[in-house]
Symmetry: C2
Subunit: 216 residues, 2 copies
């Protein structure tokens, strides 16, 4: 798989076959994750892989109950669609997301990305220094993971909806309170094909030298 | 360039030659950025590319002054090194980061990732729903950008230190207040080679089925 093609065709996959994902495959993806950049190279991540069937089912239950609250809350605040294509696209994704919510526990494996609470406040005699969010140091690693899975033909989806019941997830998996679960990524052989996902064209949202200047 | 090799060998590059980076190359990287996932596919990003020499110099000045405050503040809170190798590695990175701070304006181009303020609070009759941070929807796109640049032999670094003077940057580039500048990525042909950066081994920070369980 060529690098650029792999990036372009890595999209969320939400339906999986019953085929397994091996430990070596998961570790290979985690090795890609750790090569992502982090502020001051602090690497603020730990990984928790769930493969045990009973534990997967319990995580799946937490996820489904989270999604049951998320879905109607999202629909209640959704702005009007700008086109029929937009609406059709939303409906397809919503159906796939519902499917994932009902079957997450059946995914061959799931990987949780954990970030320790970082209390590195920088300051000088002029006051506190804002040098950005710790999330900047962990989501690039998640993306590397998704791409490395793509390289193996393994489908993934970056989910965060479980956070509605994050404490239940911590309790189930014995995750210490000081860790935030920043992503839960189900993995499996995808039903359906990888491909270029629907996006607004980059050119339409790119400015040159001053904000809003659409061309060089 | 093979996908997995590209991921593994994309590291921060902080010294650049004077060679240009073309508009087509930059757009190609931005097309990769937009293929990243975002919550509900909201794609909460805009890009601002700076190539004009005078503007680059002005951005470089803001960056250098930010770094001048960041560097001593970081050194003041640094924990003791765990080994001589750790210390040597830190010193090398610190020297390269200092170099970047002093020469950012000379980079062939720089790309700013802008995220609009997102006020999508989800709630139901039981209360507000935490479904994660909007940063989860933008840093994967930044990572895609860095990898697509790697594919072209272009070096990059994900920086956030400019945030100390973020408002100056907004004023200079006419960025509306509602956008947060979540990353500033200088680009250029690298001095030095791409390669696998120093990281803690993935196996040492991976748990299986329960937190802290180090093997399956």
């Amino acid at each position: 798989m060529e690098l650029y093609e792999g990036i372009m065709t890595t999209r969320a996959m939400r339906r999986f076959t019953a085929e397994p994902v091996t430990r070596d495959e998961i570790v290979r993806c985690l090795k890609a994750a750790v090569q992502a950049p982090s502020g001051g190279n602090i690497q603020p991540w730990q990984f928790l892989v769930v493969t045990d069937a009973e534990t997967r089912a319990a995580v799946g239950d937490i996820y489904r109950r989270s999604y049951d609250r998320y879905e109607p809350a999202l629909l209640a605040v959704l702005p009007p669609f700008r086109s029929d294509e937009d609406e059709a696209s939303f409906r397809r994704t919503a159906a796939a997301s519902r499917h994932l919510a009902d079957h997450l526990g059946d995914a061959a494996a799931m990987v949780l990305f954990l970030m320790p609470a970082i209390s590195m406040t920088l300051a000088d005699d002029q006051g506190d220094l804002d040098v950005g969010t710790p999330y900047a140091s962990v989501y690039p690693a998640v993306q590397n993971f998704l791409l490395a899975a793509r390289d193996l033909g393994i489908g993934t989806a970056l989910t965060t909806v479980y956070r509605i019941y994050q404490q239940e997830l911590r309790d189930l998996l014995e995750i210490p309170e000081r860790y935030e679960v920043v992503a839960l990524v189900p993995m499996g052989r995808p039903v359906g094909r990888f491909g270029v996902a629907r996006r607004r064209p980059a050119e339409a949202i790119t400015s040159w030298d001053r904000f809003g200047r659409r061309d060089t």
